[in-house]
Amino acid sequence: MFRRERSIPLRGSAAALCNNLSVLQLPVRNLTHFGVVHGPSAQLLSAAPEGVPLAQRQLQAKEGAGVSPPLITQVHWCVLPFRVLLVLTSHRGIQMYESDGSVMVYWHALDAGDASLVQAVFARGIAASGHFICVGMWSGRVLVFDIPAKGPNIVLSEELAGHQTPITDIATEPAQGQLDCKPLENRDCVADMVTADDSGLLCVWQSGPEFKLLTRIPGFGVPCPSVQLWQGTVAAGYGNGQVRLYEASTGTLHVQIDAHARAICALDLAPELLSAAEDTFVHIWQLSRSPEGGYIEVEHCHGECVPDTQVCGARFCDPSGSSFAVTGYDLAEILRFSSM
């Protein structure tokens, strides 16, 4: 059972985007950072354990040509081996900052060259993999940036081609997860990144100096707005309210959940699975491996209705999954829940 905790007020309401909440847990400093996109600006704030807001900062999308101010599509903290960077994607480009948002260390402008007049041009989908940061594009391409241990010498090292429609989300194995992986027969085939797009297609990659496409999991006519990867399992949330779990290395479907009544907008996985959708519900599921067949089993733990709120972001706030936070369209606060 979960109970509602004190909300954290936001300067601006959350925009109706997917994956519109990023959380950076800093247990050593007893702090949690939250990032929410409002529209042309994003808000970062840090809070103490009881949800007491301590500091906040607003970041703007870097201007460019166009009639209206550019909109931000996503804000996300990337935890790398030696540093943490905050990445902001918009309709103009990719902005990377030091983790508190104080200094911009890198700017990459989008090249709209190939886009037809009717295509919206934007970057969306952010994840860290080792010392790389991967960012998705409207074209389906995924840009791979090589990040040095410190300083602004960030280099675009690769462009991955696997998708034909706009990227929606990217997920990578958390660094510590790889050590606990169940033993794989073929160590050459470690799936550690999954990318998703508007057509529902998922691509599973192995990271490295050159990223390698391991397997493709086709869509079925609806977008996949949110995806997670944990201990060799891909969790994907779809526009028709379904959550599907696949074996990352093979792409085999293991679990299909008719989870929500509207499009899924956010997933989190650590070690429980959290799913949130536009139907106002947040569900928490327990994942386990069956002793006999070794396949993944899912059990529903908890469902929370956020009344009259079109949820747009949701994340666990601690490694054990005993608390989570939620954002909603038009809502100028971050809702918090913790288990009793």
Binding site: S13, A16, V67, P166, S199, A261, F281, Y295, H300, D330
Partner: protein, 353 residues
């Protein structure tokens, strides 16, 4: 965001405007032929070919201020006159109605059905005018051509673009409050029951498969809502059962629209924030607007036909109160030349603390 959003925004807001004007014309007992002429004039201006051509070009959404100018012009495309306060109220009602419809669309693609509902009703207003009917049908064809083939992902982007446009608007509308579709804090009620979007299964089932793809386990869980599968998909043809009720006329003959509007101050806070922020792109926007409005053929009132004033308030006292608490955007001063052709003169801005 999506560059395909403006036609949907314009047509649906226009549709709501016509519903409201139709209701007010009947409520004020304007003679039938005059009322029909007003609606005919506005509809034929809305669906003018040159205007539609500009509208359908792929482009970003205009700001709220810019779009408002288009409706100011449209509302005065006939012998009817609206004063400032009535125009403000009309626009607030239009925007909140469409915001509600977008928010409650089960699937992002259903916004197209909402648009078709508006067009179907518009055709009802102009049954006796084959020329205008033809214009509306042509627009229908254009919508089908452009939106018929869009993917679910593209519709999701259109939906997100529309919701960002409507973000932070929480004007309380009497008819919504009465029907309990809006809470007293201005937020819409999102029901957790009723028909599901076409293509979504009833939540509550977890199916597990083995490596061979065989289902090995099936478990139910309590999802908390009370949903039923959609009976059928709405029709996207020129004529057909849309199934969805969103976008149909909620101002029916038997339900007078209550014109007392609360929550004006809440909306003002949001508006003030927007108007005070400097807009360096205003000039470029005005140019775009010029092209769009240039396509409108506004009929000037001429001959013995006298203009008449339509009121969106039931009493003059209500109107006076509303006028004092509303602010007007000072940047309209530069658009004075647009409105001098018989529209509403721009007023000075009242700065709020």
């Amino acid at each position: 965001m999506s560059v395909r959003t403006l036609p949907l925004l314009f047509l649906n807001l226009g549709g709501e405007m016509l519903y409201i004007l139709d209701q007010r014309l009947r409520a004020q007992n304007i003679p039938g032929d005059k009322a029909r002429k007003v609606l005919n004039d506005i509809i034929s201006t809305m669906f003018n070919r040159k205007f539609m051509e500009e509208l359908f070009k792929p482009q970003e959404l205009y700001s709220k201020k810019a779009l408002r100018t288009v409706y100011d012009r449209l509302a005065h495309a006939s012998i009817m006159r609206l004063n400032q306060a009535s125009m403000d109220k009309l626009y607030d009602l239009m925007t909140m109605a469409f915001k509600y419809q977008v928010l409650l669309c089960p699937r992002p693609k259903d916004v197209l059905l909402v648009t078709f509902n508006h067009l179907d009703a518009i055709k009802g207003f102009i049954q006796d005018s084959p020329t205008i009917l033809h214009q509306v049908d042509e627009t229908f064809q254009q919508l089908t051509e452009i939106y018929g083939g869009l993917s679910a992902g593209e519709f999701q982007l259109i939906r997100q673009t529309l919701l960002i446009f409507f973000q932070d608007l929480h004007i309380r509308v009497s008819i919504f409050l009465k029907d309990k579709v809006q809470n007293s804090n201005g937020r819409f009620v999102l029901p957790v029951s009723g028909p599901l979007p076409w293509g979504t299964k009833v939540p509550g089932l977890v199916r597990t498969f083995n490596n061979k793809g065989e289902e090995v386990r099936k478990v139910e869980f309590k999802h908390g809502g009370s949903y039923v599968a959609a009976p059928k998909e709405g029709s996207f043809e020129l004529y057909g059962d849309r199934v969805l009720k969103l976008g149909t006329n909620m101002y029916s003959v038997n339900r007078p629209m209550e014109t007392h509007m609360s929550g004006a101050s809440e909306n003002l806070a949001a508006q003030t924030q927007e108007s005070i922020a400097p807009n360096p792109l205003a000039k470029e926007e005005l140019n775009l607007l010029a092209r769009l409005i240039g396509g409108m053929e506004i009929k000037k009132p001429s001959g013995p036909e006298p203009g008449f004033r339509l009121n969106l308030f039931t009493t003059d006292e209500e109107e006076e109160t509303s006028r004092r608490t509303k602010s007007w955007l000072g940047s309209w001063g530069s658009l004075r030349s647009w409105t001098s052709q018989g529209g509403v003169p721009a007023r000075a801005m009242i700065c709020l603390p």
